[in-house]
């Protein structure tokens, strides 16, 4: 697949590849998503706004230029904006592929980083020379102001022009807690939300602090995704329960939504409202307890996002999906085309409901 290189969230020609539970593949315009979904479905989206998490500056002791990419936090509590995990690069910026980026100077506990108006202290390494825990100085308001003023969206070399925050905030972006955009949500605009309502398709949100998708280092990438805090509102849990009770589908808009919902459902007592820290990994072994279908960007085989799809479909079906994306000329990465994948072992109740209503997963 070729990379989408322009930061346009909803290109007029964006496409949607649909795979139903039986493994049948169909091609749609992505703007028709609301028509492809089924009345009774509940779409769950991640409403996190994206922080400008890339901060350039220097290591105070050596004067060496660095780029800090905030990568994780323990919670999305309101004033928990001091301590972050972060990936640190040496000189350069996003125009250099992450794989080719220079390492940072050796960073030891207590070392200070000057990042524009912000000052951060290295708390300690996190098992890799590029991954550290750091702590910002100042009040929560001052830290937010410093990030807002000095930070830039994390970006990668496949998009040449520097991103602004409006390029990476979805239409529903609310709490600024994500480190990279929950980009499956780029499909949303208010016209689509109106259309969902008209079609009797539910819409609910959770807030999940999506982390970095790539660090350029194989050993570090293997640890992704890092733990990600999330918050599940009570109204969203209520909507999920009533949708399940009807035998209708839970459609996750983005892999972060799958991770949060499945993590919450795996806790003792099942899915409940509140804060959580997602540490689960999704893949072949995952037994989905909540999510019936996923709307996601397209991803290259081998990436962790791609592995996650194995939670929904078997290897043979996934190979056919990859083939269809490749031969169909679908574009990949965050500003690319999308897939809607229904899990192959759809819950019996859902299938029964569908037959009872003479619905089809693939309207013409």
């Amino acid at each position: 697949m070729k990379a989408a290189t322009l930061p346009v969230q909803r290109p007029a020609d964006a496409r949607l590849l649909v795979v139903d539970a039986a493994g049948r593949i169909a091609h749609h315009a992505r703007a028709d998503l609301a028509d492809v979904l089924i009345p009774g479905d509940l779409v769950v989206a991640n409403d996190a706004a994206t922080l400008p998490a890339s901060l350039d500056g220097r290591d105070v002791a050596t004067g060496a230029p660095i780029e800090v990419r905030l990568a994780g936090r323990r919670s999305i509590a309101l004033d928990d904006v001091r301590v972050f995990s972060a990936v640190v690069f040496g000189a350069g910026d996003f125009r250099t592929r992450t794989e080719d980026r220079a390492p940072p100077p050796p960073l030891r506990p207590g070392d200070e980083l000057a990042l524009g108006p912000l000052t951060a202290t290295i708390v300690g390494p996190l098992g890799h020379p590029r991954l550290v825990e750091l702590s910002f100085a100042g009040s929560a308001d001052a830290i937010r102001a410093g990030l807002a003023r000095h930070g830039r969206p994390v970006q990668y070399a496949h998009v040449a022009e520097p991103l602004a925050l409006w390029d990476v905030w979805t239409r529903i972006a609310a709490q600024p807690v994500a480190f990279e955009p929950p980009s499956a949500g780029f499909v949303l605009d208010w016209r689509l939300l109106d259309h969902l309502k008209r079609r009797g398709i539910g819409f609910a949100t959770l807030t999940h602090a999506a982390g970095l998708s790539s660090t350029g280092d194989a050993a570090l990438d293997a640890r992704l995704p890092l733990a990600e805090p999330y918050l599940l509102p009570a109204t969203t849990v209520d909507a999920i329960r009533s949708t399940q009770a009807r035998g209708d589908r839970i459609v996750a808009l983005g892999t972060t939504v799958v991770r949060a919902l499945e993590h919450a459902a795996a806790r003792p007592g099942g899915i409940t409202a509140g804060a959580g820290l997602a540490t689960n990994r999704l893949g072949r072994e995952t037994r989905l307890a909540v999510v019936d279908a996923l709307v996601s960007g397209t991803h290259e085989p081998g990436s962790s996002h791609h592995e996650l799809l194995r939670a929904f479909v078997g290897g043979a079906a996934l190979d056919r999906v990859d083939g269809a994306l490749e031969s169909g000329g679908y574009r990949t990465h965050e500003f690319g085309d999308s897939v809607l994948i229904e899990r192959s072992n759809l819950k019996t109740a859902t299938l029964a409901s569908r037959l009872g209503n003479e619905r089809t997963a693939l309207p013409a």
């Binding site: 409403d47 706004a49 922080l51 400008p52 919670s75 999305i76 509590a77 309101l78 004033d79 928990d80 904006v81 929560a140 308001d141 937010r144 102001a145 990030l147 807002a148 003023r149 602004a164 925050l165 409006w166 905030w169 979805t170 239409r171 529903i172 972006a173 609310a174 709490q175 600024p176 208010w190 939300l193 109106d194 309502k197 609910a204 949100t205 807030t207 918050l231 509102p233 009570a234 109204t235 969203t236 409202a273 509140g274 804060a275």
Partner: protein, 271 residues
């Protein structure tokens, strides 16, 4: 009266904010106000903070922002210019980050356009553009950037309360006072934008209203009418009290969606 409450809210987690935010009239609101280091904006910030609501405010001058933030216990002062497109998301990030969500946005920051006021035929294009940038495009952009937070608050709420955008307008939006061309035209557009947005966003739990506070004894009025008699003007504190009551009323879903106010009271305006 309850100086600790805003502080306690500030250290509360976003989790408890969203999970327990039942949106009862007595529950603290999360409210953002632009142009709040003087006049009506500051009076609104004081009024909301005094009853324990969580307040973030925006103004251009860092020194004044610091001063007002320390005068209003628990409030979050944000330095920014709503007329600048490139700074809008930085402002929105700080508002929703500081409050953990947003129930009410008050677009109050205003520009007169030319100072002193000028006949339209004498108005420089740049001064007209400044009035439009501050009074129309600023509210448009900031509302758009915060719409995710406002709609999220409505979704997570009890269903009995709407989120609310309050656009501060003027009778100059309705009455063609000579000399008030740039200001009046920009506020007329703001009022119409409010009506259209109100129609479009109702189904997402967000109401948009335009409110005319009347002629007040504010720095903006003194700039426009240097020889006016302040004694004849409404005190910002009184206008703020009326607007607070209106906001509480408008947030109730059971109150029929109201048309944005169209006040026709005519007052003498200096040209």
């Amino acid at each position: 009266m309850r100086p600790l409450r805003p502080y306690l809210r500030a250290i509360a987690t976003i989790s408890s904010n969203i999970m327990t935010h039942s949106n009862q009239a007595s529950t603290p609101l999360r409210i953002a106000i632009t142009g709040a280091t003087s006049g009506l904006g500051m009076a609104l910030a004081e009024a909301f903070a005094a009853r324990g609501d969580a307040v973030a405010f925006v103004a251009r001058d860092a020194t004044r922002v610091r001063r007002v933030a320390s005068a209003i216990a628990g409030s979050h002062g944000i330095v920014g210019d709503v007329a600048r497109k490139t700074g809008i998301h930085a402002i929105a990030l700080q508002i929703s980050g500081a409050l953990g969500g947003l129930d009410v946005l008050v677009n109050n920051a205003s520009s007169l356009g030319p100072v002193p006021l000028a006949l339209l035929a004498d108005t420089e294009c740049e001064d007209f553009e400044l009035a439009l940038a501050t009074n129309l495009l600023g509210p448009f952009r900031l509302t758009k950037a915060l719409l995710g937070s406002l709609a999220a608050a409505a979704r997570a709420g009890d269903g009995a309360h709407r989120s609310l955008v309050v656009n501060v307008t003027s009778d100059a939006a309705v009455t063609p006072y000579p000399g008030w061309g740039a200001y009046g035209a920009s506020k007329a557009a703001l009022a119409q934008m409010s009506r259209i947005w109100h129609e479009e966003l109702g189904r997402h739990g967000v109401a948009v209203i335009a409110v005319d506070p009347g002629d007040m004894d504010t720095p903006l009025h003194a700039t426009a009418v240097p020889d006016g008699d302040p004694a004849t003007l409404k005190r910002p504190r009184d206008a703020a009290r009326e607007i607070v009551a209106r906001i509480d009323r408008e947030r109730q879903v059971r109150n029929a969606p109201s048309e944005p106010e169209l006040l026709t009271s005519s007052k003498e305006r200096a040209a």
